[in-house]
Symmetry: C2
Subunit: 94 residues, 2 copies
DNA sequence: TTTCTATTTTGATAATTATCTAAGTAGATA
DNA sequence: TATCTACTTAGATAATTATCAAAATAGAAA
């Protein structure tokens, strides 16, 4: 079920952008929400899904809630993709 | 838009299973459909989405329609995942 | 301890996606 | 050319997901 959660989480562009935002440093929810033309409530909903998929963790500081990227759950996805035989190996005739 | 299509396509377990089925050899639609407790129409719908995402190609032979895996489109997804910094690099303290 | 700030949760609605049945199509076979 | 086989497409419905506005919460600040 883990991989299904991961893939469902990253199938949405808003959630992918959130992950991109957290790539270099953690950010509070408000700062994340400010990057979208969506209400804080909606962004919070996306954060919840990402949290459930274990792609981010949260940490409270003052009354901000900081989110951190946890990219380690991608390992399973990578394994699956590689199991299908990737790398353009059938394309080396050029 | 390409990556969005790819990720949306593989976010569904039925479609991932189809890709798994095509991993080693191409198969006709009927044989694929037989692997699911779904109507041929529904499986055809999933095949259409995979085709649109360029994850499979089709080829007619007699009156069978064979589907082939095209895993090369995963390259973009892999790049994105790696750009987030993968490999459990923050986990090497064990 | 009241109020303010940052954010989440709830409840409702809209939008999208998956599924089915029935009808259509392309090509092989009789 | 009529029919059969292997599918797809269309149309309808159910299920899921994304969104918002309004209310709730947790902790900081006054």
């Amino acid at each position: 079920m883990a991989m299904s959660d991961t893939l469902k989480a990253i199938s949405d562009p808003v959630r992918r952008k959130i992950l991109n935002l957290l790539k270099d440093e953690s950010k509070p929810a408000g700062e994340i929400a400010a990057q979208f033309a969506l209400t804080p409530a909606t962004v919070s909903y996306h954060l919840k899904l990402l949290k459930q998929a274990n792609l981010i963790t949260e940490r409270r500081e003052k009354n901000f809630i900081y989110y951190d990227l946890n990219a380690s759950v991608f390992e399973e996805v990578l394994s699956w993709i590689y199991s299908l035989g990737i790398g353009g190996e059938s394309d080396d005739k050029k």
